[in-house]
Symmetry: C2
Subunit: 261 residues, 2 copies
């Protein structure tokens, strides 16, 4: 089934999602953005989307209203939206906000694509898991239907689970990216290039993603509890106490997890 | 130029290195291991390697002796080795040990392939950077020659640089792997599968390895200094204080690095 959709927001998520929706046969009717030029630029990429400058959608023919805006704006913006009728579905796309933030709407939902979006980077949404939550059964059907039309993997995830999913994603993605950045920073201090480490990083990740549990392929001094090497590394980091503390805490964490596992 | 090589050790590094050396035309003459059955198993994979049970190589025809043993054993084992003559090259393959650990040998070196080795996992050594250090010019020529025969990327890295390289590799590989393991552990507490996060992890790493500096593609609440989300996550982790502390420290580290960069 195909739906008429309006987008509130014109950032990275709106950018990827709107094009995927049209590719799947849905119609994007309106785009609202607090920066109309961004909405214009996105509209140019779409078949027949109109840029609107008001959150009054009372005349809209859309049945689904997708909030693709920053987490802290969702509640405030959602309160201002005037939907065309009681049957209209309104949902946000945030990993951190509960369904409750749309409380008061009869058909509310969450449509959370679990991926990191960069505007000019191609991304096959079919491979991106979409996490869906809804305030009632008919809304869930609509959102699952849309999700399945653009992605091969759709999960029903409630607000509590989504919170843990988001914390876990911060560890697995944001924090790992930071460790790579930090590693590059440390190498640069010695005049060494990050290129040198890339094959090792690539192999590490391929291995971690192949196995059922990355803990099973943990290597390095911490898992061996090789305190001779660990202390040499800590000594080496003594002039950057923050990163020395980080080294120590992650080392402890590796030992801790291995004893629990 | 092709060399005759003897291997001391029969673990993962010896396993991959010896086969790559033979593929490149060198001859592996002898394998020593404190566990002769392991040496036997490796010898079966090679053309004509003999298993030896003594570190007395005075009758050996090899010109290069490669120590592929654990870091803490290198000094002790190296001291016991009797080389056939003064011209023989002896080197270790460790990222953590200095060249000095072979002090007293006239042709000493380090031949450090920057990769994580797993015995039954295929690995194309051609893509693995090899870091070479030597006690003199002729030894360096031999080791660079061997390195170039098996890998496309050979670097001259001295002991001090190699130490930083190893610390950085711990951050970029061992620690990132741990964060993936921890993420899986946290998800499991909520009954969620790590599979859900894999596309996001994959995209994160592809992005980080494409750019010159992973710091440039840092995303998440820390880099946005979104303390509303950060505090929600810290609250969420309150029953696992160690991982709460880790969340906090990495978050601070992201902010710190962004202000330095």
């Amino acid at each position: 089934m195909h739906y008429s959709v309006s987008l509130i927001g014109s950032g990275n998520v709106a950018w990827h999602l709107s094009q995927a929706l049209e590719k799947a046969g849905h119609q994007v009717r309106e785009i609202y953005s607090r920066t109309p030029e961004h909405a214009e630029r996105l509209a140019e990429k779409l078949y027949d989307a109109q840029v609107v400058t008001s959150l009054d959608f009372s005349e809209s023919e859309s049945t689904v209203f997708l909030l693709c805006i920053s987490d802290d704006a969702i509640g405030r913006v959602a309160d201002q939206i005037i939907l065309p009728n009681e049957d209209a579905v309104i949902c946000h796309t945030s990993g951190t906000q509960p369904l409750d933030v749309l409380a008061g709407r009869s058909h509310a939902g969450v449509f959370y694509p679990l991926q990191t979006f960069t505007k000019n980077r191609r991304l096959d949404l079919a491979t991106v898991p979409v996490c869906v939550e809804a305030s009632n059964e008919p809304t869930q059907q609509v959102l699952v239907g849309i999700a399945q039309s653009i992605s091969r993997t759709v999960y029903l995830v409630d607000s509590q689970e989504r919170k843990m999913l988001h914390v876990s994603a911060v560890f697995a993605c944001n924090f790992t990216n930071h460790l790579l950045a930090l590693s590059k920073h440390l190498l640069a201090q010695e005049g060494l290039q990050f290129e040198l480490l890339k094959p090792l990083v690539r192999e590490t990740f391929e291995k971690a993603l192949e196995v059922a549990d990355p803990a099973a392929v943990q290597t390095g001094p911490a898992i061996r509890e090789d305190y001779q090497v660990i202390h040499a590394h800590l000594d080496y980091l003594q002039h950057t106490p923050h990163w020395q503390a980080l080294y120590k805490l992650i080392t402890d964490s590796i030992v801790l997890l291995s004893r629990r596992g």
